[in-house]
Subunit: 200 residues, 2 copies
C-alpha cells in the first residue's frame, strides 16, 4: 500500500487576500474582521464551508497563519478552519506547541465544534476569540458535536481565555449567505440502520 502524505491545500485566492489584508491587526474586532472575511470569501469562491480562522500573536497582533474550511474540497472531514489555521501556525512557528513562544490567540468566525475544541486545547493558544455562536451554525444545519456543557469554562480551566460574540452579526450573515446559496451541509450521513448490522 502506498503511503502518500496528508495534504490540505489552501484556495488560490488566499495569498492575494492576505496580501491585501496586511500583516498586523488591532485587538478584537480588527482580527475578527479578517476571520469573517476569510469565511465570506470562501463562500463567494465556493472553495469550502462558511468558516474562517486565523492565529495571531496576542500582544503584537501579527498574523501567523490563516485557514478556511476545506472539508469537501480536500476530502478531509478534519479540515475545519480552526484545525487548518492552528496547524499552519505551528508549521510556521516550527513547533507543535504555540505556547512555546509569544502567546497566540485563535480567532474564529464561529465557535468551535467538539473536535476543534480539543484541537484548541492541544494547540497551545492562550486565547480564543469567537464570532458566531454555535447555535448560529446549528441554525443553518451544521452539527457541532457533543461539546462540554460549559465549554468556555472548561477551556478556561486549561489556560485558554474565551471571548465570544465578537462581530457575531457579521459572522452569522456569512452562515446565512452560505445557506441561501444552497451550500452543502457536510455532516456525515446518518444511515438509519443500527450499528448492529455491521457484523464483520
Amino acid at each position: 500500500m502506498a503511503t502518500p502524505p496528508l495534504i490540505i491545500l489552501l484556495p488560490d485566492w488566499l495569498e492575494g487576500f492576505l496580501a491585501e489584508a496586511g500583516e498586523v491587526f488591532g485587538a478584537g474586532a480588527d482580527r475578527m474582521r479578517l476571520a469573517v472575511g476569510l469565511a465570506r470569501r470562501n463562500v463567494e469562491e465556493a472553495t469550502g464551508g462558511p468558516f474562517g480562522a486565523a492565529v495571531f500573536e496576542v500582544a503584537t497582533g501579527r498574523l501567523i497563519a490563516a485557514g478556511v474550511n476545506r472539508v469537501e474540497a480536500c476530502r478531509c472531514s478534519a479540515a475545519h478552519a480552526e484545525v487548518v489555521a492552528l496547524s499552519l501556525a505551528q508549521q510556521a512557528r516550527g513547533h507543535h506547541d504555540l505556547s512555546a513562544g509569544a502567546a497566540c490567540e485563535l480567532v474564529t468566525s464561529a465557535e468551535p465544534c467538539a473536535m476543534c475544541l480539543g484541537a484548541v486545547h492541544w494547540s497551545g493558544v492562550r486565547r480564543l476569540l469567537c464570532g458566531a455562536r454555535d447555535e448560529d451554525a446549528r441554525a443553518v444545519g451544521f452539527d457541532e458535536g457533543d461539546k462540554p456543557p460549559d465549554w468556555p469554562a472548561a477551556l478556561g480551566r486549561r489556560g485558554v481565555e474565551v471571548v465570544r460574540d465578537c462581530l457575531r452579526d457579521e459572522a452569522r450573515a456569512v452562515l446565512a449567505e452560505y445557506a441561501r446559496r444552497g451550500g452543502a451541509i457536510y455532516n456525515p450521513a446518518r444511515a438509519g440502520g443500527s450499528a448492529r448490522d455491521l457484523d464483520a
Copy 2:
C-alpha cells in the same frame, strides 16, 4: 504572506511495514494487531508518539489507510494517529465522508482523546475498536482532554459502535515502552500565569 499547504508526512518505514502486513485482516484482534504494531514501530523508530490507528472496511477487512502519531515530527498538534488515519482513508476514498461507501471502522491502539472523538464523529466511520484505555494513556502522562463522561454511549447515539479493550495489554505495553525510553509527553505547556496577563 505565503500560503503553503498543510502537509503531514508519514514515516519512511511505513510503506514496507504495510507491505509485510498484508491487505486484508480478520475481525477484531487481527486488525488491532496492526494498529498496535504501528504504535510499537513508531516508538522503536522514534518517529512519533506511541499511538497507531488504521481504517478498515468492516465487512471485508480490507485496509484502507494507516496512521501513526506525528505531532512532534510534523510540528502539528492535531496529527494524532486517528486523525491521520481517518484523513488518509478519506483521501484514498476520494470523499470526506466514509459513510459514503462500504461501512468503515477505525481501529486505534488507544482510546481517542477529546479532539479525536470529534474527528471520529465527523469521519463517517460506523465502528470504533480501541486497544488501551484512556486511563492507560493518562498513566504515562498524556492528557486526554475533556471527554463526555460516557463517550462510548455518546458515539453510539451518533451511529458509531464502540468496542473497547481489544488487546489492551499489548497496547498498554507500547505506552510503557515509550515511557521507559523517555519519550516526550507533548501536552501543551501550561504556563502558570492567568490568561489575564494576555492583554493585547
